[in-house]
Amino acid sequence: MEYPSDSTHPDGDEAPDLNAPQIQEEEKTSTFAKAKALLSELWHDKPGFVGFVIIVALVLMAIFAPLIAPYDPAEQSLRARLIPPVWQERGTWEHVLGTDHLGRDILSRIIHGSRISMIVGVAVVALAGGFGITMGLIAGFFGGRIDAAIMRFVDTIIAFPGLLLALVILAVIGPSMTTVIIVLALNGWMVYARMTRGIVLSVRQMPYVEAAEMVGGRSFHVIFRHILPNMMSPLLTLGVLEFARIVLAEAALSFLGLGIQPPATSWGLDVANGKDYLFVAWWLVTIPGCAIAITVLAINLLANWARVTSDPQEREKRFATSVAAMRRRKKSSSPAIQAAE
C-alpha cells in the first residue's frame, strides 16, 4: 500500500531528517509542534497532500460561497438558457461553466451547492458511522443475546425499504436539510454496524486483547484502546465510500422532491435535474458530477494517508521509502557523485 514516491518533486535536496515522521521523538509534546510535524509528513506524501489541499479549498469555498459566487445561484434568465461552458463554441466568459435549462449560472450553483452536499455528506457519515460503529462494537464485544438482539434489529431495518422509510419520515416531519440528514443516517448506519461487528469478532480473538483483559483492563478500556484503533483502516475506507453514496442519495431524495427544496441547491440535485438534458447539454450533469468526483477523490487520498499514518508499521515503511527515493534522486541529480563512485 505504498505510494510510489514521485521523482519530479523539486525539494529533493532537503535534509532527510527534516521530514522524519516523528516516531522516535516523543519529546515534542506541544500540540503545535505535533501539528507541524504531521503537516510536514503530509507534505511528503504527495497524493495525500493534494487531497488535503483540495479539501481545504472546498471547505473554504463552501464557507465563503456568497462572496465567491459571481451570480445568485437561483437567479433565472430564460434568455440565457443552456449556454455551454466557455471553451465550447457558444460559450461566454459571463458564464464560465455555462447555464442550465433555466438560465442559472452553473459555477455559482456549484459553489453554493457545495455547502449542502458537504454538510449532508459529513453529517450523515458522522452520525451513521458513530451510531453504527457503536452498535457493532457492543454486539461484537459482548456477544450472546446482546449480539443477537442488535444484529436481528439491523436485519429488520435492512429488510425495510429505505425509500419508504424516507417517504414516511419526510411526509411526517417535512423536508429540510436536517430531515434529509436524519433519514439518510437512519438508512445508512447498518452497514457500519455489520462491518464493525465482523471485525470486532476477529480482533477480539487476538491475544493482545486477552492480554489487556488479563492485566485488568475494563471493557471500555479494551474496546477503545485495543479494538477500535486496530480496525481504523477498513472503517476509514468504508466511511469514504459511504460519503460518495450519501451525496448521491441526497440527490435521489431531492430529485423526488423530498430532499433539498429549491431555491436551495446541492450537487446531487443539479445532477438529478440535468438528467433530462443529457443529450442537448451534457454540462448540466457532468460539472456537478465532476465536483462530487473530485471531492470523493480528495477525501479518499487524505483518508489513505491517514490510514497509513495511523498504522505505525506502515508509517515507518512509507518513511523509509520516501527517504530511499530521495537518496536516489540526489544521486542521479549530481553527476559528480556518480563519477566518484
Binding site: E25, Y208, V215, G216, G217, R218
Partner: protein, 334 residues
C-alpha cells in the same frame, strides 16, 4: 531449587481441587437433542507452593493450557475449586477479579500477537499500572517502565518504539515486563518459549528464573517440551487427555517415572550426546488420544498402554502416592 524445598511444608499459594472444565461441543442425535461436551479437564487437583515452579506438560489437546487459563479465571469452570493464598477464587468476577490480576499474571505463548501493534512499548508496559490506577498517566509511569525494561534486559530507549521494531525474544521480554508491572506473586507462563527461535529460548528461560529469584515469583510453567521444563521446574505435572497422570518432584519424575506415559514422554527427550542418544530405546505407543467428547470409561491411556489390563479398561485409576511426594494414576505400578 533448594529454596523451594525448604518452603515446601508451607501453605500452598495456589491449590486446585477437583477442577473440571467442559466446553460445549455441539449437538448430536437426529434432532440435535443431545448436547455434547468436550471434556477438557477432568477432576484435576494440584498445589503450587510459594517460590516454586510447577511444570505442566502434555501433548496438544491434553488440557494444559486450559488448566492455566482456568486457574486465572479465563475459562468457565464446570466444577471444582481454585484457591489462591487460601481464598476460593473459583467464581470471583468483576472488580474483585480485576484486583486479583495484581497477584496473578499470564505470559503468552506468541509474543508476535500478544502486543498491540499500535501501542508503543511505554504504553504497553504502563498499561497495567494505568488501568489499576497506580499511576495517573503514561508520563508518570516512565521511570517505572524504564526500570522494568532494564530488569528484563531491554535497552532503556526501547520504550518509545513500537512492537514491530523488536525480535521475537525481545517482544517476549516486553510481555514479561508487562506481566511484572503489577508485581504479581504468581505467573502462569503458557509455553513462553515455544514460539521463539531455539537459540534464544535459553535466554528467556534464564530471564524467567532470574526474575523468580529476584521477586520470589511462583510459576506455573506450561510446556509441551520436557527438556525446557526439566531445566526450570521444581515439580512436574504430566497431563494426558484432560487427566493429571503424574505429579512429583522434577528429579523423581526424570529419574524414576511411575506412569508408562511419562516414560514414553521422557524417552522422546533428546540427549545432547549421539552415543547415549543411539543407545537409548525410544518408546513409541501406537494409536491416538481418546476422543475428548466421548472419553473412555476406564483409564484414558488404556488403548495405547502396554500394561493395560481389563481393570484399566473399566475403572479409572486414581492419582495415588507411589513414592513419597510422587503421585501417579496407574493401576499397574507401585
Amino acid at each position: 531449587m533448594a529454596l523451594a524445598e525448604q518452603i515446601e511444608p508451607a501453605e500452598p499459594l495456589v491449590r486446585v481441587e477437583d477442577l473440571t472444565v467442559r466446553f460445549p461441543g455441539g449437538r448430536a442425535g437426529f434432532w440435535g437433542q443431545t448436547e455434547l461436551e468436550v471434556h477438557a479437564i477432568e477432576r484435576m487437583s494440584f498445589e503450587i507452593f510459594p517460590g516454586e515452579t510447577l511444570g505442566l506438560v502434555g501433548e496438544s489437546g491434553s488440557g494444559k493450557t486450559t488448566a492455566g487459563r482456568a486457574v486465572l479465571g479465563r475459562t468457565p469452570v464446570k466444577s471444582g475449586h481454585i484457591y489462591f493464598d487460601g481464598r476460593d477464587i473459583t467464581n470471583i468476577e468483576g472488580d474483585a477479579r480485576r484486583l486479583l490480576s495484581r497477584d496473578m499474571q499470564l505470559i503468552f505463548q506468541d509474543p508476535y500477537a500478544s502486543l498491540n501493534p499500535r501501542m508503543r512499548i511505554l504504553d504497553l508496559v504502563a498499561e497495567p499500572l494505568i488501568v489499576h490506577g497506580l499511576v495517573r498517566n503514561r508520563d508518570e509511569a516512565v521511570d517505572e517502565v524504564k526500570e522494568l525494561l532494564r530488569k528484563v534486559g531491554l535497552p532503556a530507549n526501547a520504550f518509545e518504539r513500537f512492537p514491530h521494531a523488536f525480535s521475537g525474544g525481545q517482544r517476549q521480554r516486553v510481555v514479561i515486563a508487562r506481566a511484572l508491572a503489577l508485581k504479581p506473586r504468581f505467573i502462569v507462563a503458557d509455553e513462553p518459549v515455544s514460539a521463539l527461535d531455539v537459540s534464544i529460548r535459553a535466554q528467556v528461560v534464564n530471564l524467567l528464573q532470574d526474575l523468580q529469584q529476584e521477586f520470589g515469583l511462583t510459576y506455573l510453567f506450561i510446556a509441551h517440551d520436557l527438556s525446557v521444563v526439566q531445566h526450570v521446574s521444581d515439580r512436574i505435572a504430566i497431563m494426558y487427555a484432560g487427566k493429571l497422570f503424574e505429579i512429583g518432584s522434577a528429579d523423581a519424575i526424570y529419574s524414576n517415572p511411575k506412569h508408562p506415559y511419562t516414560e514414553a514422554l521422557l524417552s522422546a527427550v533428546p540427549v545432547p550426546d549421539p552415543v547415549i542418544q543411539r543407545s537409548q530405546k525410544r518408546i513409541v505407543f501406537e494409536g491416538e488420544p481418546p476422543s475428548p467428547i466421548y472419553p473412555p470409561k476406564g483409564c484414558r491411556f488404556a488403548k495405547r498402554c502396554p500394561l493395560a489390563t481389563a481393570q484399566c479398561e473399566n475403572e479409572e485409576p486414581p492419582l495415588a502416592e507411589k513414592a513419597p511426594g510422587q503421585f501417579a494414576a496407574c493401576w499397574n505400578r507401585n
